[in-house]
Point group: D2
Chain length 259, copies 4
């Protein structure tokens, strides 16, 4: 890559983000039931996924939408991860959730809507747990960099960035993946950076080429939404990869990586 | 106005937002000292300002910038307001700040960066205090409307919206004032809406015409940044009106309103 | 206004744009028939409109949409204008159209899609006819200013700017009216500037408050789309004011202006 | 790729765009002298470039900037291409330029600023010469698709699309490369699509990873700006690759492609 001198690595449950080999994070948008997450964990482990994702505290645009299973979902996720030997990631939205539940996850996800939530970021600086800081959907590179500094300057150096698409005038896709962010932010901050093509494009048929693009620019990881029956998902079904098609996709990712 | 059937009014310390007469909110970006805020309160009261604003907990893009005087500043603001008979507004950024300090203000300001902070909004729904909900700088009308519903559906109907400019490609101004938001959101939600031209444009010489535009579209209030010596302000000096020029501006606003 | 020292005025058929009194331009999106434009011209003249607009060469996003009546429509517009004593404005899209037809209009409209069409702008610099230069829907102030310089530096100083809304992330309205552009560009360039609220918002019910906002910021004119039966219009019906309701609107504009 | 059923191929001087193998277009932003373009042509041919680019009629934001060598430059480009056996591409901005000069190029480039120039696009539909249609920098997929239809529906089916970055709020880069456009537009239109990372990012150090990303998503070609001494370029020097470093880059592109 371009700026090799200042590479920072972040360890998550033995996995080294920033070591030059992309990590694969996959799972459902939301934990929907115990059975669902166990089944997904089993299958995702089989096909080589590194980390299991699952939303429990969901930041939904409408207060009337499904808000996630909360603490109950988090326990399902935690137990499914342990049972199948998968580290887990889940999103927290408040200081209270971070303090109460951070011991249950291997990495804390901070979503786009909270990238500017500075009291939350300061709290993350005071705990000993890796953080994946998603880019606010209209955040500039500078704002995103400084948001990471709210965590790092408060004492927690384990920050991984995540590009998940930005808001533009284009309405053909959910967001616009800013692929440039991957080499640019890696170069500017030295931090590991993963790409979430699922949220970026919002259409499952384009997740594969965008994932390849991310790997081609040096992304340190991919985060992909997978669901057993996307058409029945309680959220984000349109962008989720069907579970039974995911092993083939993982094979392609590994092939791409080996080249 | 266009949609007269569903007008909602919100009372703040005896002032009725939504009664057809714009209210004037003014003060410094940040409370910088006890002396500063007392002096500003005295002069602003004299020229007819309705509510005193002053930031104490400041959401700054950089963790290395001045972060506000915090609790100390809030006490200065509260006391200056009481001394000169001015209701006060100040921003809170976390659930903890809301619960601990809401009794010290007459109206709580929720800034752009927290419009998507749903746990915070839910907490605001559970207290009995008016809330001014600023638009996220890239929030759609729908997202902003639904954010207000996070407060209202949790029990607090006293919500006032505030348009403060949106993020666009234009770099000649700080943000782009979306003047359409004023009649559009009033029509869609029925809620009172105020305009903050200072943050929208970021250049003091354009605050006056934009304030007129807001009044012309039926804004229920204006929020204007004023500073004794803008060039020495600890934040946002470029957009602050100089205190000694403010009485003349207030005269113009009242003339405009009387027409 | 803010920058009074460098005000430039532009004469169009005896009307002085930039003299401090807003001019009113109205008419249909497109000239649809001889009968239509004569009838509109008669009624618009009666209620005090200054200039008649009507599209003949229409820049439509799709090649399969109605493209305007072309030369035939232009003759109808020209004759209707003469018959009722109204100067006319119409859009040209190519050098050929400008050279062939500019004698038929009192002012040439250059639409958003052609603001960056520099060979066209250079040609406009070489003729003796006022030009209304609409802002490209993603043009910065600087690009717009420099586009006007392509005309002026080639010899034609009669340029009037027109703000018609910019492209943003907001999908609730057709475009986002950048009200700041009016005082900002007037200040920066000295040129007269008119506002086209119809294209900006795309919804007729919001044309009135946005027109007031434009007048409040010092716009030198308004351009409003009017149609006899908007629901049957061949283009832009959703944003056109119904003809029979337009006289009341003109009364309001004049009242506003007199204040 | 995703939508294999409707692939369209376009031949340019024996090269087949859309055959699954990316073509390489390279050259200076602007033809600056006869010597410059001959020297570049020689070196670019040597390292395997397929098509030589060079701007002659330059659409510059300011009328006071260097506007290109015009017809003189076009003859240099044409002769250099012939001498070294390289097909050439250059931009035309007006109907007149197209009609007068299209026989001198192998493919006509239509720049971002002219994507909405419908009279120009219609003219391109009437000639027998391949066209590279760059995306307007704020054009939606739908508008771009329909712009291509202005050419195709008028009779010229040889259209190649080019993604060159879109305008967003981000100011850290010149534009934002919309990598999704490559698979999305290929899928939607079936047309070949090339990527211009140089204009998209505006910073030469990021051209390489973005070019890889484009190849990874299935781009049918790359267009790269190369200059002998970028720091002395009359335009776009900041984004031009230095000629002496370009052979190594071409090797990397071919390696990537072979994988």
């Amino acid at each position: 890559m371009i700026c090799e001198e200042n590479i920072i690595t972040v360890e998550v449950a033995g996995l080294i983000f920033g070591d030059g080999k992309a990590k694969f994070i996959a799972g459902p948008c939301a934990v929907e039931s115990e059975e669902q997450i166990y089944n997904l964990a089993k299958e995702l482990k089989k096909c080589g996924v590194d980390i299991l994702r699952g939303g429990c505290f969901k930041p939904r645009t409408s207060p009337y939408s499904f808000q996630g299973l909360g603490e109950e979902g988090l326990h399902y996720l935690n137990e499914a991860g342990k049972f199948y030997g998968l580290p887990i990631i889940s999103e927290f939205m408040s200081i209270e959730e971070v303090l109460k539940f951070h011991h249950l996850v291997d990495i804390i996800q901070i979503g786009s809507r909270n990238m500017y939530n500075y009291p939350l970021l300061r709290t993350l600086g005071e705990i000993d747990k890796p953080v994946m800081l998603k880019r606010g959907f209209s955040a500039t590179y500078e704002e995103w960099h400084l948001a990471s500094q709210y965590i790092i300057s408060n004492g927690n150096k384990k920050v991984i960035l995540a590009e998940r698409g930005i808001r533009t005038f284009e309405t053909g896709t959910r967001n616009t993946l800013d692929i440039t962010a991957i080499p640019f932010m890696k170069c500017r901050t030295g931090l590991p950076i993963v790409c979430d093509p699922s949220h970026a494009v919002g259409l499952r048929e384009f997740v594969e080429p965008l994932a390849f693009a991310a790997l081609a620019t040096g992304a340190d990881g991919l985060m992909i939404e997978v669901h057993e029956t996307p058409e029945k998902a309680l959220s984000d079904g349109r962008q989720s990869i069907e579970l039974k098609k995911f092993p083939e996709l993982m094979d392609k990712f590994r092939d791409f990586q080996r080249r």
